[in-house]
Amino acid sequence: MTSGFFIGRLTQTLLTMLLLSVIVFGLARLSGDPVMLMAPAEATAADLARISAKLGLDQPLLVQYWKFLVNALQGDLGSSIKWDADAATIILERFPHTLLLAGCAMLFGVALALPVGIWSAVRRDTWFDNVGKLIALIGQSMPTFWFGIILILIFALYIPIFPTSGYGTVWHLVLPSVTLGAYVAASIMRVTRSAMLDALEADYVRTARSKGLSEWRIVLVHAFKNGAIPILTITALQAATILRGAVVTETVFSWPGVGKIAVDAVYSRDFPLVQAAVLFMGVVFLIVNLLVDLLYLLLDPRINYLKR
């Protein structure tokens, strides 16, 4: 049964990836002549013809798409105009930076959200809970790019503790991680709070209380263990959200990741690189989502996907 679900979900992911490739391929054709899009503004007519022949644009669309797909599957995502290098190589070089930032942001988000969420549930309807709720709401409504700049203003310019932007030391990592982590902390906090509220109302908690166990033990061992599944689920789901927010955060902090390279490629009209970045990030997202779904299944055997 599980393997049936696995195969179904895998097929679905592969189909979605195929669809992604069609869209990315189609995007370049949206504007009319892709050669104009890919060529630098100062290109001559001879240059254009050369690029056109090189890219095989004189062939029928289906043939072009097939070539694009086969190349992509072999790891060839075209080459960047600006850097005059293989797009896949450029992206793979930057990807660890994005992963590092995403990892630290997630760590910060969880470290902030768990204690606050748990304490809000324990002290339900007190000022702490209400302030926590309000901050979570504000966190979800705040534009990431703006929060990043405000952090730079306060903690890099007014009180110069951290560097304003760039990459290199551990200090460079702090402000971008906080910016990106705060964004996911809000959702994790809300779910932690409600999962803990559910768990704290359960019968086994009453039993534990009647046995005279300490409140700490009840909250952290008995209730938290049972509330852990929704909390883990939302955390896993936030992995995709974090990668999504990375595009903006990397731009604000000049963090040399895949998101920054994609935005820069848009500015320098380096279309093959934009295309490659979108394709790459898209595939990463789809894989993350697939893994999250499989994780559910491992965490909670009660979930039956076949019924959906």
């Binding site: 309807d125 409504s141 703006w146 405000i150 203003l153 999504r244 848009v266 934009v274 898209g282």
Partner: protein, 286 residues
């Protein structure tokens, strides 16, 4: 026990009967909407009038929110910027709603490979980073107001389609719909009389929350320079313009960002209230 204590304590507070939960966000939103609509009358200055003598002057009686690097009045630009945010938010979500409801219904009623294809497309749109897709599209078709609205609509219809399909499938299985079908009610009548009316509440709630998301996305795109192009004032562009001068003039960045936050927050809060009122299936915790 502790619950009743809290309720009692609340009752004694002055103003406890006032519905703060929707009143506060409604008032905030009303201020934003009014200042957008009446910007021509209310704005103290011309939003695009440059005056280099006023380079980054701090908030004062003349310029309540200060001026930007070109000497333009930040508050007037905020008011005109609200227009763009609201216009993009409402029209892109309206368009998304239309596409989403039609495709969602199609997917549920027609089914087969067409239904499946629509659902795979929603999978794709819901997983991909919207900013990245919007960047790629903007790089292709060029940034402009209609393009921003189109891109957001094309990214946002998926949630409507998902939800409408799910609801339609479950409504279709209900006894009264089955009964209507059994006595010879055709598909079209079934759709208009039994399925669509049942979807209205959920769609309204989702649309409200989506508008907040669309405003946030528009500001992000404008910030990245692929949204509504200058000189049109938008909150996102204003933050981007202020960024190089942030150390010299905090007001240039702070106020537009606060504008985005307050707009998104109040729409989200109103959406929550609407959800409690219209969507009884969704039980809010505490």
């Amino acid at each position: 026990m502790s619950m009743s204590n809290v309720t009692l304590a609340r009752k004694r507070l002055p103003g406890a009967g006032i519905p703060w939960r929707w009143l506060v966000p409604a008032v905030l939103l009303a201020i934003i909407v009014l200042s957008a609509l009446l910007a021509d009358i209310l704005a103290p200055h011309d939003p695009n009038k440059q005056n280099l003598a006023n380079f980054l002057s701090p908030p004062s009686a003349e310029h309540w929110m200060g001026t930007d690097a070109l000497g333009r009045d930040v508050m007037s630009r905020m008011m005109y910027g609200a227009r763009i945010s609201l216009l993009v938010g409402v029209s892109s979500v309206g368009l998304a709603l239309l596409i989403g409801v039609v495709l969602g219904i199609t997917s549920a009623m027609v089914g087969g490979w067409i239904g499946e294809a629509i659902m795979r497309l929603t999978d794709l749109l819901l997983t991909l980073p919207p900013v990245l897709i919007a960047l790629a599209v903007a790089a292709t078709v060029g940034p402009s107001l209609p393009n921003v609205i189109m891109v957001i609509a094309l990214l946002y219809w998926a949630q409507f389609a998902r939800m409408v399909r799910g609801e339609a499938l479950s409504i279709r299985e209900r006894d009264y719909v089955q009964a209507a079908y059994a006595i010879g009610c055709g598909n079209t009548r079934l759709l208009w009389k039994h399925i669509l009316p049942n979807l209205v509440n959920t769609v309204i709630v989702l649309a409200t929350l989506q508008i907040a998301g669309a405003i946030l996305l528009e500001s992000t795109l404008s910030f990245l320079g692929v949204g509504v192009p200058p000189p049109t004032p938008t909150w996102g562009t204003m933050v981007a313009d202020g960024r190089p001068y942030v150390e010299l003039g905090w007001w240039m960045v702070t106020f537009p960002g606060l504008g985005i936050m307050v707009a998104v927050l109040s729409i989200n809060l109103l959406g929550d209230v609407l959800r409690d009122k219209l969507d009884p299936k969704f039980v809010r915790r505490s």
